[in-house]
């Protein structure tokens, strides 16, 4: 559900597009993916197919700014909960030499690490489209950005809250959590109409790049609370502040990275979390037909086992193999190792072009967890392999 004014903005962007003076960009993609679960789970389908599409366009309004539009749709062939659409971008932008204004739905990226999006607080994550938390929902906003020579100051007013989707316990492509997302709880009486604010100052000094961000409003990550009348959990969105820091120090082929945050929920204990590590570009080793990059990051959360994700004390190790061919073939291997329980989450992703318009991706998730108290224990049922064929136009 979106507010009336947000619908008006999105509709205005859509309506103005055909009137725009110049189409700067237009295109999209259509994809079909088939997903197989590696373990049988009684009562659940062992596989599912998804049709997904994306349309993107950009229009220049002479000296009056620019309209951008990106819409995505997701159609699960077998389960109704997997059918939805979203507008990651539907905005009007006006820029002058030193500043820019953006109004509408937009997607913001803050941060430097690869294993999770720790300080990226503006957009709600969408776990139904990506288990990795790297896909987000469009956020309605008014953003003003000031550009200095070596720094950038972003100020955002976020007048409408996007709730996280869970999919429910019956939807296997969700997180298999018994969450009733239809009627979430809000700590603030204004609910999803609470106006949030965010500011970020970022800049660079030589090879050091850093950003300091402040957020005040409805925290994106809900707490799941039990209900007396139902076995389903209800999401509770609390108010709070977040201070985030992200930094990258580039030394030759080594990229040192850090993200840290302190979160102060209202009427609840504050907590801290951090990710730090490095990325090493090794280039081509011997006669290998690929360039190799290595990623190592440690994820830490002061809440320990109470953290809502599994990254309370986990080491992430990744390899990326970029094959030097015209098909842009990339093989990515990632492994999360829980340093407390010894559980592991592994991911293999192979992406390649088939032709200039067609691309193919194969993805495998494997989970190894033996202790029921481990956060990954419940994820064993999500072990899966998927194949995706995509047509870009």
């Amino acid at each position: 559900m979106t507010p009336r004014w947000a619908t008006v903005i999105a509709a205005s962007v859509l309506a103005l597009c055909p009137c725009a003076a110049q189409v700067r960009k237009a295109g999209g993609s259509l994809a079909f993916s088939e997903l197989y679960y590696l373990k049988d789970k009684p009562g659940y389908a062992g596989s599912t197919g998804v049709l997904s599409g994306q349309l993107e366009a950009e229009f220049a309004l002479q000296d009056l700014g620019r309209l951008s539009l990106k819409g995505v749709a997701h159609y699960d062939l077998r389960e109704g909960k997997g059918r939805y659409a979203d507008l990651p971008v539907a905005k009007y932008a006006y820029a002058q030499e030193r500043w820019r204004l953006d109004l509408g739905f937009d997607t913001i990226f803050w941060g430097v690490v690869e294993s999770q999006r720790l300080v990226n607080v503006v957009n709600q994550v969408d776990p139904l489209r990506s288990l990795r938390g790297d896909v987000t929902l469009g956020q309605p906003m008014l953003a003003a950005t000031w550009f200095g020579e070596r720094y950038k100051l972003e100020t955002l007013v976020l007048p409408w809250f996007r709730e996280r989707r869970f999919g429910g316990s019956t939807y296997r492509s969700g997180l298999l959590l018994s969450v009733d997302e239809r009627d979430p709880l809000y700590q603030d009486s204004r609910g999803r109409r609470h106006v949030d604010h965010a500011v970020r100052l970022s800049g660079r000094v030589d090879v050091l790049e850093a950003g300091l961000s402040l957020f005040q409003g409805t925290l994106r990550e809900p707490r799941l609370v039990a209900q007396a009348s139902s076995k389903d959990l209800r999401p509770l969105y609390v108010q709070g502040q977040q201070i985030g820091l992200d930094a990258q120090y580039t030394r030759g082929a080594t990229l040192f990275k850090l993200e840290a945050k302190q979160v102060r929920p209202r009427n609840e204990p504050s907590f801290r979390a951090a990710v730090y590590g490095f990325e090493q570009a090794l280039g081509r080793i011997g006669r290998a037909p690929f360039d190799l990059s290595v990623f190592i990051e440690h994820n830490w959360d002061s809440r320990g086992e109470a953290a809502p994700n599994f990254l309370q004390n986990d080491l992430f190790m990744g390899l990326r193999l970029d094959f030097a061919n015209t098909l842009a073939t990339v093989l990515t291997l990632g492994l999360f190792q829980d340093l407390d329980h010894g559980s592991r989450l592994g991911r293999v992703l192979l992406e390649t072009r088939l032709t200039d318009e067609l691309s193919l991706a194969g993805e495998l998730y494997l989970v190894s967890a033996k202790k029921p108290q481990d956060r990954l224990f419940g994820a064993r049922d999500l072990e899966q392999v998927s194949v995706k064929l995509k047509w870009n136009f």
């Binding site: 960009k25 997607t107 990258q248 030759g252 870009n392």
Partner: protein
């Protein structure tokens, strides 16, 4: 990056050739000074935009095509800055690479990923890596800076029956895939018609053919429009054809990584 890099070779080699006119074999110091002067006289195109089509030809004849838009700006006190924006294939539409070349220090590079609107600073140390799966290495498309090479061994020769001037240049930067480059210059315009790239074993690894020159100012400012890089080890070729160069009002601020993704 490509035209400027190769144009810089034109400048560099022309300067070296100018030295050849007065000295049969120029000392490297003289060649260096001459190149700096020639580059200074050749500057003035400032900010430009062009579109290019890159055709990669496999050893078996199969081809694949990339299209890019390229913005470049020349800075007086530092190396040049360029933004390469991919247009095709469509799966990389909007992907942009920003490069700040420096005269002595390592280049700085940033990547803009349109799917997540992420700007990521990346390592520029992989200079010998292939650019977009082509036969051009990153160091081939990086901005040419006089100080990054030693230049010597000027002599006369012939190419396709035409007289040429030969210039040998050795990279001074780390992680180069080449032991030396030998440029074949047109003696009337001092533009390179061919460059041979040698590996560490002294073998010719690749050969770049250059043509389609046009002059953009009364002082010269020659720019080539056609390139063909042949890899002698793999049999693969990459052809690049540039459309018209346009002078733009895009200023150096547009090449700030803070703004990467805004210029289309």
């Amino acid at each position: 990056m490509l035209p400027r890099s190769l144009l810089a070779w034109v400048y560099a080699c022309t300067i070296a050739a100018v030295g050849l006119v007065s000295l049969p074999v120029a000392a490297s110091d003289d060649a260096l000074q001459t190149m700096k002067q020639r580059r200074l006289l050749s500057s003035g195109w400032n900010s430009s935009m062009s579109e290019m089509k890159m055709t990669i030809v496999e050893a078996n004849g199969a081809t694949s095509v990339r299209e890019l838009r390229q913005y470049a700006i020349e800075l007086a006190q530092d190396g040049n800055r360029t933004i390469n924006i991919f247009l095709k294939p469509k799966d990389v539409d909007g992907l942009a690479v920003l490069t700040h070349s420096h005269k002595r220090d390592s280049d700085d590079q940033w990547l803009y990923l349109p799917s997540s609107q992420r700007v990521k600073r990346i390592s520029s140390s992989n200079r010998s890596g292939a650019f977009a799966g082509s036969e051009f290495a990153y160091e081939d498309i990086s901005s040419f800076e006089v100080e990054k090479y030693t230049h010597a061994e000027l002599k006369k020769g012939h190419l396709d029956g035409q007289p040429v001037l030969l210039v040998s240049s050795t990279p001074l930067y780390e992680n180069s895939g080449y032991s030396k480059l030998v440029s074949h210059l047109d003696p009337s315009t001092y533009q390179p018609r061919k460059i041979d790239f040698y590996n560490s074993r002294g073998e010719i690894l690749k050969t770049l053919g250059i043509g389609g020159y046009t002059s953009h100012t009364a002082q010269g400012a020659w720019r080539p429009h056609k390139f063909e890089m042949v890899n002698h080890l793999t049999g693969r070729r990459t052809q690049i054809e540039y459309g018209p160069y346009q002078r733009t009002s895009v200023d150096s601020e547009a090449f700030n990584p803070n703004r990467l993704g805004q210029i289309k």
